[in-house]
């Protein structure tokens, strides 16, 4: 027998706040996290805007928790604190014997340039010099990219599966989807799932910029992230961590947990198209949404809201629109959908993106209010859905989808519903 899976804890750490309530209030108020940005010590970097976490505020807010931690990557700091917030919100901090696991979406390891400069000898760089100075290497950079998953597991006494997903921008959504499946199948009672990422370091941003992925436009200032708009020109990079606590319904009810909503479906797919571009008709994206609906046992017309991947890149937004119109073609249901792109407000959290967007989807479903797509001033004619422009809107939601599509055509979709005692009620 399959267990029902509910969400009982939320944690978001990003530029819009360090508590999920602040994050959600900012989304509904139409606030943007995007600000002028340059990498440290550089003034002429082509990428001019990003959504960085404020270092001083972060350090101050979490000083008590961070001081007890070993050295770790920046993304791990965000993730560990977000997981802490989620466990606290779920009322599970300090609880033992939970039969709980951890699943994390992580991206490209952070690049600490001074580490490699240790290789510089009199005759040029050489490995022997680096080896001789290995004790000076940043220890945070020498562990694997499952560091965050293990840190969370240790911090919260998890003894169940500990997974680290590497599916690019779909990573955190994959982590949530896998966790949902493990609880539904009875493998564990409880999972801490989500992701954390920080690409706002010099080497990673140079690499992304050389691929033409982030926007280098200065035309729109802090309104640069404009999914589905004709003026969109690339994603706006951001950083942060977000986690949820998922539980079997029985486990949650037995301990009297507050329930935010229910996860009912997960789908994944691949484009099998190009490494650098999504399928232009969104075939993989459509398949991912379709699989999630099948997994949830829902017809397409049960969906009222989609939190789109909506990256503000020229290719994604038309492909995703095409995919939505394909999946929701029957009776032109796509015309009745509310679709919004949270990235217009928080930027692109890359491997972690699926987690804050899942939380936004869940809260929209619970509260019946959909966060907006900002900066949609001149919709692309090929993007002709209702993207909830500019302002949050009240919408009655029976079920909602959250999409996350990774670089190279790695796609995931999650389906959530408001929690009702009788699932079919």
């Amino acid at each position: 027998m399959n267990s029902r899976v509910v969400v009982t804890g939320l944690g978001v750490v990003g530029r819009l706040g360090f508590e999920w309530q602040d994050f959600w209030a900012a989304l509904l108020a139409g606030q943007s996290a995007i600000v002028p940005w340059q990498p440290e010590n550089i003034e002429d970097f082509p990428v001019r805007y990003a959504a960085p976490v404020d270092n001083a505020q972060f350090a101050s807010y979490f000083s008590a928790q961070l001081s007890a931690q070993p050295p770790m990557e920046r993304r791990s700091q965000f993730g560990l604190m977000a997981a802490h917030q989620a466990m606290n919100d779920a009322g599970l901090l300090g609880k033992t014997g939970l039969n709980m696991g951890v699943a994390v979406g992580s991206g490209i390891p952070e690049r600490y340039t001074p580490d490699m400069l240790l290789a510089m000898g009199d005759g040029g760089p050489d490995w022997q010099t680096l080896y001789a100075k290995r004790e000076q290497l940043n220890p945070a950079m020498r562990s694997g990219n499952d560091q965050l998953a293990a840190l969370i597991a240790r911090a919260h006494g998890a003894n169940g599966p500990v997974q680290n997903f590497s599916t690019a921008c779909a990573g955190a959504a994959h982590a949530i989807g896998s966790s949902f499946r493990m609880i539904r199948n009875g493998e564990v009672n409880c999972m801490i799932a989500g992701g954390a990422d920080s690409v706002l370091n010099l080497m990673t941003m140079v690499g992304l910029n050389l691929l033409g992925a982030p926007s280098v436009s200065e035309d729109y200032g802090d309104k640069l992230c404009r999914p589905f708009d004709e003026g969109r020109s690339g994603f706006v990079a951001a950083e942060g961590g977000a986690f949820v606590v998922l539980e079997s319904l029985d486990h949650a009810l037995a301990r009297g947990a507050h329930i935010y909503g229910e996860v009912v479906g997960f789908g994944s797919s691949m484009d099998a198209y190009r490494v650098t571009a999504p399928h232009p008709e969104g075939k993989g994206a459509a398949l991912s949404m379709h699989k999630a609906l099948v997994d949830a046992g829902l017809d397409a017309d049960n969906i009222n809201y989609i939190n789109a991947h909506g990256t503000s890149t020229p290719l994604n937004d038309t492909a995703e629109t095409f995919a939505i119109k394909t999946v929701f073609a029957k009776d032109q249901h796509y015309q009745k959908l509310a679709v919004s792109a949270t990235k217009s407000q928080i930027g692109h959290w890359i491997a972690a993106a699926g987690a804050p967007e899942f939380i936004a989807t869940l809260l929209a479903t619970q509260q019946g209010i959909v966060p907006p797509t900002l900066n949609l001033e001149n919709p692309d004619p090929l993007c002709d859905l209702d993207y909830v422009p500019h302002k949050a809107r009240a919408v009655t939601i029976n079920a909602a989808l959250s999409n996350s599509f990774g670089f190279g055509g790695l796609n995931t979709s999650l389906v959530v519903k408001p929690y009702k005692e009788d699932r079919h009620g």
Binding site: D146, G160, S166, T167, S178, S269, A272, D295, G409
Partner: protein, 394 residues
């Protein structure tokens, strides 16, 4: 206690590919292990002279013709992505299921275990340029120049440092569009991939799935990481390169070996390790509806042999053959558990097994009735996973 619900339908596993220093098929590897052939190579540059490992297990870097891709595509891939794609190509050639046109592309999945990307950051070429052009290469002002960085960093650096790009290449080459997952970075990731793939096939989400693992490229940064974990002090942790794949299917295959049980968990401290090894082994056995005494062969990977006693404590036969392949063929990270899985499938098919000898270089081959084989994999952070394979009685 971790509990696992029985799977809904049997999931069969077919022998796929092995690409390692011993060759590019499982028979070659098996023979090399039985003969004690170790294809060790001196570390590839003199700069390694003082490093803890003088010899490692390397593979040739596959080229465009072996990979069946345009040469331009190679610029987007580091060696590990090439090893992954090559291993996938060998598996697709070996197993007809993935080429079966009656299964739609949307029902063919991909589950990969990937290391963290092995490229130097900044790229080594950039450091060399810094030495040539910079007045103070250890504190170079050029690293504050956007123009310098955009010029000196390779155009596809953002792709070649993204480990998941192996998924994109494999899915595109073999038209796999079904459900997928990619896990990283160590040996445990291989069985995370296998277990999730098994679930997806069991529940009908995929009809078939390609499951693979790939090692990191042997490079100085990797060796520094291995030293960080203390693996330079373990004789069985000689770095090795390679990849390995199997194919899962809902259709009964001629060998009729299924993934009959599994369990996975996390060991936060060495104090609790013995108890958790036992719990998870017991769970996997119960999941497979067998006892420890039913296990005919055990292949642990990256556990340091610490789970062997746990299996005996659960009642395994005293004569249980055990193969720790890493002591013979090196430590191939996320590829290792799937190499072991292919060895187990070969053994189940041929009704023979390999067992470590005292010298730990070669493995002794014996004939024996094999029905149930247990395999394990561990990650250095504390992940521990067990998989049970069972051969149907025909």
């Amino acid at each position: 206690m971790i509990k696992t619900e029985s799977k809904k339908a049997p999931v069969f596993v077919e022998q796929g590919s092995v690409y390692c220093s011993a060759g590019n098929n499982v028979s070659s590897l098996w023979q090399a292990l039985a003969n004690g052939q170790q294809n060790l190579t001196a570390l590839p540059c003199p700069a390694y002279d003082a490093w803890p490992w003088s010899q490692v297990f390397l593979v040739e870097e596959p080229g465009a013709s072996e990979l069946g891709v345009d040469r331009k595509i190679l610029r987007t891939m580091e060696k590990q992505a090439k090893m992954a794609l090559y291993g996938a190509a060998l598996a697709v050639q070996q197993v007809e299921t993935l080429a079966n046109k009656s299964i739609s592309s949307a029902k063919k999945g991909l589950y990969l275990a990937l290391p963290t990307v092995d490229e130097s950051v900044p790229p080594w070429s950039l450091l060399e340029t810094l030495h040539e052009v910079s007045a103070t290469p250890t504190q170079p002002i050029e690293l504050s120049s956007s123009e310098f960085l955009q010029r000196e960093i390779p155009a596809f650096f953002g792709l070649s440092t993204l480990n998941s790009n192996a998924c994109a290449h494999i899915s595109a080459c073999f038209d796999l569009t079904g459900a997928m997952g990619a896990y990283s970075p160590f040996a445990d990731a291989a069985f995370q991939a296998l277990i999730d793939a098994t679930g997806a096939v069991a529940q009908g989400e995929n009809s078939a799935a390609l499951v693979g693992g790939v090692s990191p490229k042997v490079n100085p940064q990797l060796l520094l990481q291995y030293e960080h974990w203390g693996w330079d002090k373990l004789s069985a942790r000689i770095p090795a390169e390679g990849s390995s794949f199997v194919v899962l299917t809902a259709n009964k295959n001629p060998d009729a070996v299924c993934v009959s049980g599994f369990a996975r968990g996390f060991i936060a401290s060495s104090v609790e390790a013995p108890e958790i090894y036992q719990q998870l082994l017991a769970q996997a056995l119960a999941n497979a509806n067998v006892t420890a005494a039913d296990i005919d062969w055990f292949l642990p990977f990256a556990t340091g042999g610490k789970d062997i006693q746990a299996l005996f404590a659960l009642g395994a036969k005293e004569s249980l053959p055990i193969l720790s392949s890493e002591s013979c063929m090196g430590f191939s990270g996320a590829a290792g558990p799937l190499i072991n899985l292919n060895l187990a499938l070969h053994g189940l098919q041929q009704q023979k097994y390999l067992v470590n000898t005292h010298n730990n270089i070669n493995a002794q081959e014996n004939a024996g009735a094999l029905r149930h084989v247990a395999l394990s994999a561990a990650g250095p952070e504390g992940q521990y996973l067990v998989v049970i394979l069972s051969r149907e009685v025909i």
